[in-house]
């Protein structure tokens, strides 16, 4: 753990320097570089205000809110079915996964449970949207550090997954398929076989990424040891998802707190990496994508027959109460705290998004790194703007 103590010391020193600067307002010739709000590395409108000394970052502060759409407030003036259309658009790359915790929270309040078939299909779609989301990360990380080709592969193969989602739900990005008590519709004929072949292709894609990036010496030189987050710091900042697992914390809500989906029915494992650097984050996500294809394969084998909708009234009124459900989304723990007063719509919805917490570690992890490392770390932390500013 010498790296940590060095880093802490460095962070301390630079914090001192930053304080001195603010207090005395002495121009020591440092440069302020605003990465963003419009910058390719922030994939959206995030701004990282960096104090630079040469090319070294003294202080980096994420400034968010450029894309705040007020979804929590908007949900309060909409009925429960309408809310899912908004919630779709929080993490727009894994949007089906967004709907699930909200619907589960509403279901818990209404004390209904979706029939098993619906749960299995939910889980399949959940994992498909995880694959679609992470596949883009796997390619995008290459772009962040300069390799152009992986992202095209990612778009190429993600397209197949999106097609599968579209064939079931009708929407590629915003499925809006989950309903309180079940699903909107059942899966069409022939879809299972197609999905199997797509999963096969996704595994090939993962192998390609392994050859193109993971095994690449330049990639390793850029990522290994860059942005190391020790486990206790990761836990302290409330990191979740692959970022936390890459720091060696064996923590996965799918396994630890399964809120009633089919994950406990299949055989899979949680991947962790002890290093906590950018490479570990990439590697964990790569393994998770593979694992997700395996989960989907197993789930496809055993979809139970039955209805896809529980008995729920046509006009949904949720009884008064509060519920918090969080699931292991592609980006990390996504939770919905739903307060109902017995109306057609929720009284209050608090959304706990993974990216918001993941990005809050930026000031800690970016002290003393070089500008190119800022990009590597941002890329490997993997946030989605809609997920930060919801």
């Amino acid at each position: 753990m010498t790296a940590t103590s060095d880093r802490e010391q460095m962070a301390y020193v630079s914090a001192q320097a930053a304080d001195a600067r603010v207090n005395v307002e002495l121009d020591t010739g440092d440069m302020t570089l605003n990465i963003g709000p419009q910058h390719p590395a922030t994939h959206g409108t995030l701004r990282i205000a960096c104090q630079l000394d040469g090319e070294q970052v003294v202080v980096a502060e994420p400034i968010m809110g450029y894309m705040h759409r007020g979804y929590e407030k908007l949900c309060e003036v909409r009925t429960y079915p309408q809310c899912t259309t908004l919630i779709n658009r929080i993490d727009w790359l894994g949007s089906f996964a967004n709907e699930v915790p909200f619907i589960l929270a509403a279901e818990r309040l209404m004390e209904v449970e979706a029939p098993p078939r619906a749960q299995w299909i939910r889980t399949i779609l959940f994992e498909l949207s995880r694959i679609a989301n992470l596949a883009l990360f796997l390619g995008d990380m290459g772009v962040q550090i300069g390799a152009l080709t992986p992202v095209f592969f990612a778009f190429r193969d993600r397209e197949r997954v999106l097609n599968q989602i579209e064939e079931v739900t009708g929407g590629r990005f915003h499925p809006n398929f989950d309903r309180i008590g079940g699903l909107k519709d059942d899966i069409p004929k022939g879809w299972v076989e197609e999905t199997r072949s797509v999963m096969e292709k996704m595994r090939t894609f993962c192998d390609e990424m392994e050859d193109l990036l993971v095994g690449n010496e330049i990639f390793q030189a850029r990522c290994r040891g860059v942005g190391v987050i020790p486990p206790e710091v990761a836990l302290g900042y409330g990191l979740s998802g692959a970022n936390l697992r890459a720091s060696g914390v064996d923590w996965d809500l799918r396994r630890d707190a399964n809120p009633g989906l089919a994950w406990d029915q299949v055989d899979w494992r949680v991947w962790t990496h002890p290093d906590g650097d950018s490479f570990a984050r990439y590697w964990v996500r790569l393994q998770e994508t593979r694992e997700a294809t395996r989960i989907v394969d197993q789930l496809l084998d055993g979809i139970p027959s039955g209805p896809i909708m529980a008995k729920v009234p046509r006009i949904i009124k949720v009884p008064a109460g509060e519920a918090y459900i969080s699931t292991e989304n592609p980006l990390g723990e996504m939770g919905y705290y739903v307060v109902s007063k017995g109306d057609l719509g929720p009284f209050r919805v608090k959304i706990r998004t993974p990216s918001f917490n993941n990005i809050s570690i930026v000031p800690w992890v970016m002290k003393g790194v070089y500008v190119p490392d800022v990009i590597t770390i941002l890329g490997s932390l993997y946030f989605i703007l809609g997920d930060i500013d919801r």
């Binding site: 579209e166 009708g170 899966i187 690449n216 209805p307």
Partner: protein
């Protein structure tokens, strides 16, 4: 076998992809470059992608079924459906019955500039008057033209595909599209 350096492996991946794109497997013609076949991209204006049948392209209105009950309009999350109707007395269904009061549809507009394509309206419609069709080519240069009135929505009805069969184990009933 000793591990190949990652740098060379990476070059292999790109070269292989280029080869596969240039020379897709096409029987005896394999050695003739045919990137048009090998590329995964679709050259949009020249060739068109066929979206899945369930794709949410545009909403079609089967006017005869609509009773102007306003359910879709009320359940729309961004209130982009505009319905106006008036009541008329229709002749009784059976001889000697009472004349019925029927809602006549005057206006049914969907503003696609506002629509979020969530499909709630289609789902809540109790009379099977609204259907999704996978058509997607209706962009306009003026945003006001994206307001489709009931005639325009009715024209989409021809493009509505039949509902798909379900995978084994389903208890859903396959619905029929009114033609």
């Amino acid at each position: 076998m000793p591990q190949l350096p990652g740098l060379i492996k990476g070059l292999g991946v790109t070269a292989r992809t280029a080869g596969r794109t240039l020379f897709p497997k096409r029987g005896w013609k394999t050695l003739i470059p045919a990137p048009q076949k090998g590329a995964v991209t679709v050259q949009y204006p020249h060739e068109k992608e066929a979206p899945p049948d369930r794709a949410r392209g545009v909403i079609a209105l089967h006017e005869e079924n609509c009773t102007a009950c306003m359910l879709c309009s009320r359940s729309c999350p961004d209130w982009c459906i505009y319905i106006e109707g008036h009541k008329v007395k229709a002749p009784p269904r059976r001889e000697g019955g009472k004349p019925r009061t029927v809602n006549m549809l005057d206006r049914f507009d969907i503003d696609y500039a506002l629509c979020m394509y969530c499909g709630i309206c289609v789902e809540v419609c109790p009379f099977d008057a609204l259907f999704w069709t996978p058509e997607y080519e209706y962009s306009e240069s003026r945003i006001a033209d994206l307001l489709h009135d009931k005639d325009r929505l009715g024209e989409w009805m021809e493009t509505v595909p039949d509902f798909l069969d379900y995978e084994a184990g389903s208890e859903q009933k396959v619905r029929k599209v009114p033609r």
